[in-house]
Amino acid sequence: MSNQGPKTLFDKIWSEHLVGQREDGTNLLYIDRHLVHEVTSPQAFEGLKISNRPVHRPEATIAVADHNVPTINRQNIEDPQSKIQVETLAKNTKEHGIQYFDLMDQRQGIVHIIGPEQGITQPGMTIVCGDSHTSTHGAFGALAFGIGTSEVEHVLATQTIVQNPAKNMRISVNGELPFGVNSKDLILYIIGKIGTAGGTGHVIEYAGSSIMGLSMEGRMTICNMSIEAGARAGLISPDQTTFNYIKGRPYAPGTEHWDQAVEYWSSLPSDNDANYDHEIVIDSSEIDPMVTWGTSPEDVVSVKGTVPNPSSAKTENKKKSIERSLEYMGLKPGTKITDIKLDKIFIGSCTNGRIEDLRKVASIVKDKKIASHVQAMIVPGSGLVKKQAEEEGIDKILKDAGFEWREAGCSMCLGMNPDQLKPGERCASTSNRNFEGRQGRGGRTHLMSPELAAASAITGNISDIRDFT
């Protein structure tokens, strides 16, 4: 990457944050904001203690517990290990003077929901968190990526990270989105197209009229799942939609700096003739509502499609992998996707647990009842999302339809808390990973949009929102 010539959004943020080069040739990148949760941080704080190192800049870090927390009866965490982890976070943050939103704080929620919600996430920033879905924050034109616990410790101690620049990839999606197709379908389609290792070593910039036409919530859903495409981070150019979203939020730049910040943010979009290592152009008219059938996020198919046949695989490895997935999922080749019967519905997660997602679900299930054989759960991404939904009467619509209305947290996206699938149970899920055992041992996950999950809750089968009236 040269300092001269046209630059991508990634190049601009990168060069702005370069502290310098170490003698071993690696780059030190400055980190503006560090988000911390209970699962990947205890060993990092322990490491600091052992080496007797302080936190370099405590006010640049914000902590919250989300992975382990129960979504009902949260006064008492029953699992003793979960309880210790949450208490350890409270203790560590207090000891080092780090801001912590505790479980009784209305601002508590999934770390990637609350960052944007509080205005912590801003264009041009570097943001890290010991969580792979940190890519979510790229929706604001911030370079945001997940790190391991050793790196969490490194950031706490130095406010920098050791990195070498990623390659640039641009995925442009153009045209008006067809009826029934939204950001979740777009990103599932992209992952299906490039594969779960398609973005490895790259930062993906999403561009084109379909992307820029999305709300901030929609953009976050796209960037959130960049990691499922193997990318280190996702990025979308900041624009007026971004600025409008940020303005007035608690941690947003105040009046005294607002104009200066916007001026800087406006300089961030990629230069017209910037160079990308990889370019993909997609016409949005080719995209249907998408569903996963297998155990990798790349196992996607149109909701109008069928379960694939292993014999159609191009390589022996792929064939074996399809066979393994089908066995785990309990599916037969050729089955129509809409013939797949469900046991559970999970709406929530850092992918689709925002107010806009809840509003869509409410509009679909209003005055209807969920199928008698399904259990449906809706988990707001944060305490504030929950509050807003309740103010809008969304909770009542959902409860009337038969949904369970829960407290904020990661919930069944990863089943570290009491919300889990039982072996063999089949779930329509708005989350981001359909890995074996992800939502509970033996549990079977079909990823999809909140609209499809809502329609599927009513019919009890995976359903096409376009057929649903």
Partner: protein, 202 residues
Amino acid sequence: MDKFHSLKGIAAPLPIVNIDTDMIIPKQFLKTIKRTGLGVSLFYEMRYDNDGNLIKDFVLNTSPYDQSKILVAGDNFGCGSSREHAPWSLKDFGIRSVISTSFADIFYNNCFQNGILPIVVSPENLDQLMTAAKNQIEFTIDLPEQVIKAGNHLIKFEIEEFRKERLLQGLDDIGITLGYKDKINAYEEDKKNKKPWLFKNN
């Protein structure tokens, strides 16, 4: 951090693509606040049945693979979450090197933080090494020479110089970076003037 120089031992074949970090160490084991003790839970759902008994035909449950120091696995190893519990559990089991055709970025990074050497080889070489592993041929991995020896196979591999040095010397990354503290402080002072909103906390 533990040093890594060379390694000799049996390699376990795991010919599955997209082995994700949930498979390597499932969520219920992430509740620990320690780095150690995870080896017994490595690949838990493939290794144990619903009652917690060892599944006899899973490779790491059979001799001599239960003593493996090396894993040979399918493409895109370590995809999924950022949990460093994945390399912690591998290391605690005794695995010090993983060979595949590609690795997910975060997992790859995490390995080096823990003295584990992930090695990328070509699909042809992976096939050869997978067969050698199945035939229980002893592997030798020589980091200074950047070569894997297994029977008749002699396979060179690439590694970035700084990563190699860090493994060979077992360097403390934070310690190195703290040597640049003046630069970090200077960077912050500069940005406080140029982008003051980044240093305001409400």
